[in-house]
């Protein structure tokens, strides 16, 4: 019984966060609501006994992505959005209609399809972490390695793209070239 309540609670939290993230005017609030939604989702994963995924979700989304979003907002002055500028892009009616269409396409089959099993699986596999570790190193070792490679590439790429080119800025900023400020993005 408690699980139902927690599920509804978490679901409500997540949905509220998501809707808020998409509709608030102040972008920082949006990001925070999004972080809330991600946390809610992590909770749902935990509730579904997928601890590792839940914790990973927490660690990745709430910890890293949210911070990244916030940094981007600060870097791009997105925060001080001019008042009066349209919140939603023009022609939002069609957009809403399409998303409604998508919603209907997803929900209706779920509700009507008979084949869904409604009862939870029997006892959860005990040593979940152990199993995941074996899977990672066993069957999915290739994806693991490629993901590692991908993450490194993404990291370097992001840094290169986002780095304001010192050369263009010229020596006047006085920052010694070899004194790379690490992750601390140049504030401007």
């Amino acid at each position: 019984m408690p699980s139902d309540i927690t599920f509804y609670l978490l679901a409500a939290l997540t949905l509220a966060g998501a809707v808020a993230a998409m509709s608030l005017r102040n972008i920082v609030h949006c990001v925070l609501c999004a972080a809330g939604a991600f946390a809610g989702l992590a909770g749902i994963y935990l509730q579904l006994n997928a601890e590792f995924v839940g914790v990973a979700q927490l660690l990745v989304y709430v910890g890293a992505v949210a911070i990244l979003l916030v940094f981007t907002i600060l870097l791009t002055h997105g925060a001080d959005v001019k008042l009066g500028s349209a919140l939603i892009s023009s022609g939002w009616k069609t957009g809403l209609a399409i998303s409604a269409l998508v919603l209907v396409c997803l929900v209706v089959p779920v509700l009507t399809s008979p084949g869904l099993r409604h009862e939870a699986a029997s006892g959860v596999v005990a040593p979940m972490m152990q199993k995941i570790g074996e899977q990672l190193m066993g069957q999915c070792v290739l994806p693991l390695e490629t993901t590692g490679l991908l993450l490194t590439a993404a990291l370097l790429g992001a840094v290169v793209i986002a780095m304001n080119d010192k050369t263009a800025a010229g020596p006047k900023t006085g920052v010694p070239p070899n004194h790379e400020a690490g992750k601390e993005p140049g504030l401007r």
Binding site: G95, L101, L106
Partner: protein, 685 residues
């Protein structure tokens, strides 16, 4: 020795040719060099001719003939050959032409002294002599034809020597064109002959066209009209002779040719060129005489005879009514040529050629005499204005008298008598008909008549009072200088001597020509009717001289010359004769007008028809061009532009969807996914 001469034979025509060529390059003032050149060349040729003549003389064998042929050029399989021949006929002609030319050259030095175109005169005379000699030695009808044309050209140049005078220019043109008409016949004959026999060489050891094999072949072949091919060809060739020698239909140019200077008339229109026609007939005699019945001579020879007889009488009658001293001599030449043709026609080559030789000598003499008379009386040519020159120009009168008597055929001493007698004799015995004989006799009568008239008017009687012409103050006529009178004297002597070669008593000339041996036999004179013929001619001539002398001696005596007594007697006939039977007007009316009409018609044709056609074609092309531009403009360009326009609009429409709005793309994807799902889930049920 004989063969060596034949090799040098070609030098005879070439020497004067070279002289005239070099003379042509000389500037006008170099008079002496041109004369020297001309005389030197002529004397060289004379010497060579004498050598050649000597060569032919002492052979004594049967008719001797030296031939030298060479291939001029070849085209395809056929080759064109030229060559020259040395036989009695050409030898005697060579001597005659070179001798007479030399004498006339000397005479013209004096006569042309005042003329400023002196060098040009001698250049043309050299050209003429060369081409005449070329005709004589030619062994090929082609070479003969080439020289024939050159002779025509030089006659044109010499007649039109004083081209400032329009009448001289007109006369030159008239001479050239008329002879050209005759040459057309000659050309056709030549071509026909070549096509038939395949060669134009006369004597080519058997192969020549005048040799028996070709002649027999020609005689047998018949033309369309049934006439033998040989006859047709010879008639065509005779046309050339008619043109050149001024026979009846084509004689009109000869009297007008008197416009040229007198030495020219003497050389060309008396002795040589006009004789070329007769020589041609003589050269082609084997062809001409290869008729069906050898007795009466072939039809061609009959034609020659008749034409000759008629021309003789016709020309003689006109000469009676002429007042210009040179025109009288011109018409006498025409009639004497008629006699030669008659001689050839009835008597054969020897008779004709003998008269040709004698005539050349005394006619040259007469012309040069007339020349010195004109020279003396300061360019006065009308005999009615002359008179009493007997005492003023005694030498000229003497030589002129000898010439007159030779021409009239005064018996015994004068060459004319013997040569004319031979012709009349031959005519007398002509089997075909006796008419030519009577025509001949009547011609002789007329000849004697007009010559006496001329002499009376010119030398006897009294000079008309003070007829001084405007330019010169009245100057007494004076004797010509020695350079002119010496040739006169020489010719006078020759006029007498040449007669004795062909007398019946000692027919050397005929023997020489026919290759036989002449024996002196006075008895011949009385043989087969010779005596009769001689007697009739003597009577006729004496009657004519007496009559003419009687009439005109009185007429000449009256100082203001009245009209011609004959005119008083028969005004219509006399006028008709004086107007030359209106032949010129006849030609004018017929041929020339026809020509004018034809030219006008062709002009109209060209202007209207062809020009029209050309203009039509150009208009058509312009139209075509316009049409193609029109279609190109409208159909192609506009059509193409339309197509591009459509394409660009389509592109614009498509571009509108590609506006870089990421969210629009996302919507599209969403919609597509939705529809896809809908289709997959419910569509497939």
């Amino acid at each position: 020795m004989m063969s060596s001469v034949i090799k040098l034979l070609w030098l005879i025509p070439v020497l004067p040719l070279v002289a005239s060529g070099v003379g042509a390059l000389l500037p006008r003032p170099r008079r002496r060099t041109s004369v020297a050149l001309a005389l030197g060349a002529m004397s060289g040729s004379l010497l060579l001719s004498l050598a050649a003549f000597a060569g032919t003389l002492n052979s004594g064998r049967e008719t001797v003939r030296e031939v030298f042929n060479f291939a001029w050029f070849n085209f395809g399989s056929a080759t064109v050959q030229l060559g020259w021949v040395l036989d009695p006929l050409s030898a005697i002609m060579l001597v005659m032409v070179t001798l007479v030319s030399l004498l006339i050259f000397i005479y013209s030095i004096g006569y042309m002294k005042e003329d400023e175109n002196f060098t040009r005169f001698f250049c043309f005379m050299g050209l003429f002599a060369a081409s005449m000699l070329g005709i004589v030695i030619a062994n090929s009808l082609l070479l003969l034809f080439i020289c024939w044309e050159l002779v025509g050209l030089s006659s044109y140049l010499l007649i039109g020597f004083w081209y400032q005078k329009p009448s001289a220019a007109a006369a030159a043109k008239k001479a050239f064109i008329t002879t050209r008409i005759g040459d057309l016949g000659l050309l056709l004959g030549m071509v026909w002959l070549y096509s038939r026999t395949g060669t134009l060489i006369f004597y080519d050891n058997g192969q020549g066209c005048l040799e028996q094999s070709a002649l027999s072949h020609l005689a047998l072949a018949a033309t369309v009209g049934g006439m033998a091919v040989s006859t047709a060809i010879s008639l065509l060739i005779f046309c050339g002779a008619v043109g050149k020698s001024g026979q009846l239909p084509l004689h009109v140019w000869l009297p007008d040719a008197m416009e040229g200077p007198t030495p020219v008339s003497a050389l060309i229109h008396a002795a040589t060129m006009v004789a070329a026609g007769v020589f041609l007939v003589a050269r082609m005699y084997p062809l001409m005489s290869s008729g069906v019945n050898p007795v009466s001579g072939s039809t061609a020879l009959q034609v020659v005879a008749w034409v000759g007889a008629i021309t003789a009488v016709f020309a003689a009658s006109i000469a009676v009514a002429q007042n210009d001293i040179k025109r009288i001599l011109a018409y006498s030449t025409v009639s004497q040529l008629g006699y030669m043709m008659l001689g050839l026609g009835v008597g054969g080559v020897a008779v004709g050629m003998f008269h040709l030789l004698t005539h050349a000598v005394f006619k040259a003499l007469l012309f040069m005499g007339a020349g010195s008379v004109i020279h003396g009386s300061h360019e006065e040519q009308d005999i009615r204005k002359m008179g009493a020159l007997k005492k003023l120009m005694p030498l000229t009168f003497a030589t002129y008298a000898v010439g007159m008597m030779a021409l009239c055929g005064v018996p015994l001493f004068f060459s004319g008598f013997w040569s004319k007698d031979a012709i009349l004799h031959a005519a007398r015995h002509w089997s075909v008909s006796a008419v030519p004989f009577y025509l001949g006799v009547f011609g002789a009568f007329l000849t004697a008549f007009y010559m006496t008239r001329q002499v009376c008017y010119v030398f006897f009687g009294r000079r008309p009072a003070a007829s001084g012409s405007s330019r010169h103050p009245v100057a007494q006529p004076h004797e010509s200088p020695a350079v002119m009178t010496v040739p006169l004297a020489i010719l006078a002597v020759l006029a007498v001597l040449t007669g004795f070669f062909g007398t019946p008593a000692w027919p050397w000339f005929e023997a020489y020509l026919n290759g036989g041996h002449a024996t002196l036999d006075v008895g011949n004179i009385f043989a087969d009717g010779q005596m009769g013929v001689m007697a009739t001619s003597t009577v006729v001539i004496t009657v004519a001289i007496a009559l003419s002398g009687w009439i005109y001696y009185k007429a000449a005596a009256q100082s203001p010359r009245q009209t011609d007594p004959l005119e008083n007697a028969q005004p219509f006939v006399f006028n008709c004769l004086r107007r030359k039977f209106f032949i010129d007007e006849l030609y004018e009316a017929t041929v020339i007008r026809l020509n004018a009409v034809f030219s006008r018609f062709s002009d109209w044709l060209d202007r209207k028809l062809w020009d029209g056609v050309v203009r039509a074609v150009s208009a058509l092309t312009v139209l075509l061009a316009k049409a193609s531009r029109g279609t190109d403009e409208s159909v192609v360009n506009r059509g193409f532009d339309q197509g591009c326009e459509g394409l660009r609009d389509g592109g614009k429409v498509a571009a509108r969807w590609q506006d870089g709005q990421a969210q629009r793309y996302l919507r599209v994807i969403g919609a597509a996914v939705g529809l896809l799902l809908v289709f997959l889930i419910w569509g497939s049920k």
